[in-house]
Amino acid sequence: MKVHEYQARELLEECGAPVPPSKVVETVDQALSAYDEIGQMVVVKAQVFAGGRGKAGFVKLCNNRDEVKTAAEFMLGNRMVSKQTGPEGIAVKKLLIASAVDIESEYYVAVVLDRTKRCPVVMVSREGGVEIEEVAEKNPDAIVKQWLDPHLGLVNFQAARLVSALGLKEKSQVKSATKVLRALVDVFYKYDCALAEINPLVLTRGGDILAIDAKMNFDDNATFRHKRLQEMFDPSEENPAELRAKEHDLTYIALDGNIGCLVNGAGLAMSTMDIIKLHGGEPANFLDVGGSVTKEGAIEAFRIILSDEKVRGVLVNIFGGIAKCDTIAEALIAAANEIGFKIPVVVRLEGTNVERARELLKEANIDALIPADDLTDAAKKACAQVA
């Protein structure tokens, strides 16, 4: 789960990190009164999950009221299009109006899970304000890391090493940067983050340390124990079909192709996409119905797949284990009756209760249905149907 920049700043500030004064607004009028309050020089920033805001003109430095008005009108009135949004872009509903600061230096600080070492790692770099992936590729030595003991958290000497790596020596700045690192680690543990990042953390010309932009991702498995995060959840930033799937315990991810996929198990679902591509087709989605799928859940899965207008054919690939083939067959028959299949549906079933499932499908005699013997046969047939 992701949250907006202003929400990430809120969590950081609560844990003790200094951030510049700011306001969240939803209208141009509110933007102007926020400017009147914060004053002089501000940055107007669109609050969307997608990156590439700066290049798209959705982060603007404003020196007076008129510039704030122009920027706010533009951002709230236009859809933001960037590399990450796709050509249709996304609507902007909220803006962050933040006091602008004179920057002396920019730094990168983050806490992320190290899967190999199985613990959180704090990463800092003097090359702030740019994509950390770029730094990691071009100049990996510029990133300094400290791994955290799951019980001790950030130990004093580790904080000291990290701050020293940033090149900060002046006592008040060392103190302030240490406070920021502690706040970031606190947020990471307190809210079950997958990533907590401040980029950039800046040293102002006046000698202050401030967190300018923050980004956080949270462990989806842990949001059940964080009411605060549940309240921050913004469904308008999610793909509606993906949300609908989640409500039915299905995992659905929309893709660009035209062959809809209905599979049980994440690994098999990914492999089904792979084998479609191998035989010259393009998958329209990833869809894992899960192990404990019911007939109703599977019917909903067909609805979601068929609601994608790009879909020209469907590939059903089930290896019954916990999920039973006859459950899927019953759902297929019900979906054919309720929704109707106007496009071919290639079906490959194997595993638990497969004989019963085959009998059911034979009896139902659905025109659009094309049985397949194995994985390769299924992929070839699906690709041939949409070619």
Partner: protein, 296 residues
């Protein structure tokens, strides 16, 4: 021979009175697994629907039954705690089936289990099976084929559930038996990983070849490739799922995500190629590639 579990393994189930626990324990018992009891707080002293003794705590269960292994079906918020309880009670192998366990819970639990010297499989996994001897998990038993002496057998390690069944089925239908199949689970922080299991299969006389089914996300496959190059003499066949997955999206499994250019299928396949691992181009070719490396 086999790794991890065999016909002597005594098993308890934490969460035996829950719907999932009860159902899968029944299937495992049908398969021939030696279940000796279960744990369900507040229900100690009763008997499960399988007529097994139920205990309030893992400690009571281990003292009364002498169990070696525990399979956990308790809900995600309590799953890591259950694993630690099993370790403290002296269980040497914990199989954590539960899906959706918070990652930071697993960070702490894994460290605790390591300190106790307890092996962990999972979370979010199908479990472990030594065909014909012992099935601890949710995999369908009948798709597997017992490893016969005098014939060639394969050991299978996988991050996925149903894709493992696919690979097992492709082997079984070709007459290739399995020594032991281990689903290590799709989460970013887990118990036994490729390298520990590769080392066990390398030592196991019943294993003639190894299948390693990986997927996008993390760098475990790259580490496995390095390990194979230096420590594994038996032939290894691999398949990497998610070659067509878009970056930044979590593909069902919590661990299956390409982020910051790390965890791509291309990087994993390249690492395996360098380690002389046979990488199946299609998930449908895993069985054929195994037959090929075994000279069948």
């Amino acid at each position: 021979m086999s790794i991890l579990v065999n016909s002597e393994t005594l098993v308890i189930c934490q969460g035996i009175t829950g719907k999932a626990g009860a159902f899968h324990v029944a299937n495992c018992i049908d398969y021939g697994t030696k279940f000796v009891g279960g744990v369900s707080p507040g229900k100690g002293g009763t008997r499960s629907e399988h007529d097994l003794p139920v205990f309030d705590t893992c400690h009571d269960a281990v003292i009364a039954t002498g169990a070696d292994a525990s399979v956990i079906f308790v809900p995600a918020p309590f799953a890591a705690d259950a694993a630690m309880e099993a370790a403290d009670a002296g269980i040497s192998l914990v199989i954590l089936i539960t899906e959706g366990v918070p990652t930071l819970d697993m960070v702490r639990a894994r460290k605790y289990l390591d300190d106790k010297g307890t092996l962990l499989i999972g979370p979010n996994c199908p479990g472990v099976i030594t065909p014909g001897e012992c099935k601890i998990g949710i995999m369908p038993g009948y798709i597997h084929k017992k490893a016969e002496e005098g014939s060639k057998n394969v050991g299978i390690i996988s991050r996925s559930g149903t894709l493992t069944y696919e690979a097992v089925w492709q082997c079984s239908t070709r007459g290739i038996g399995q020594s032991t199949c281990v689903g290590i689970g799709g989460d970013p922080v887990k118990g036994l990983n490729y390298n520990e299991l590769l080392a066990m299969y390398e030592e196991d006389p019943a294993t003639d070849a190894i299948v390693l089914i990986g997927e996008i996300g993390g760098t475990d496959e790259e580490h496995a490739a390095d390990f194979i190059k230096h420590h594994v003499t038996k032939p290894v066949v691999s398949f990497i799922a998610g070659q067509t997955a878009p970056p930044g999206k979590r593909m069902g499994h919590a661990g299956a995500i390409i982020s910051g250019g790390e965890g791509t299928a291309a990087s994993k396949i390249e690492a395996f190629n360098k380690a002389d691992v046979t990488v199946a181009a299609s998930p449908a070719d895993i069985g054929a590639e195994v037959a090929n490396v075994l000279g069948i």
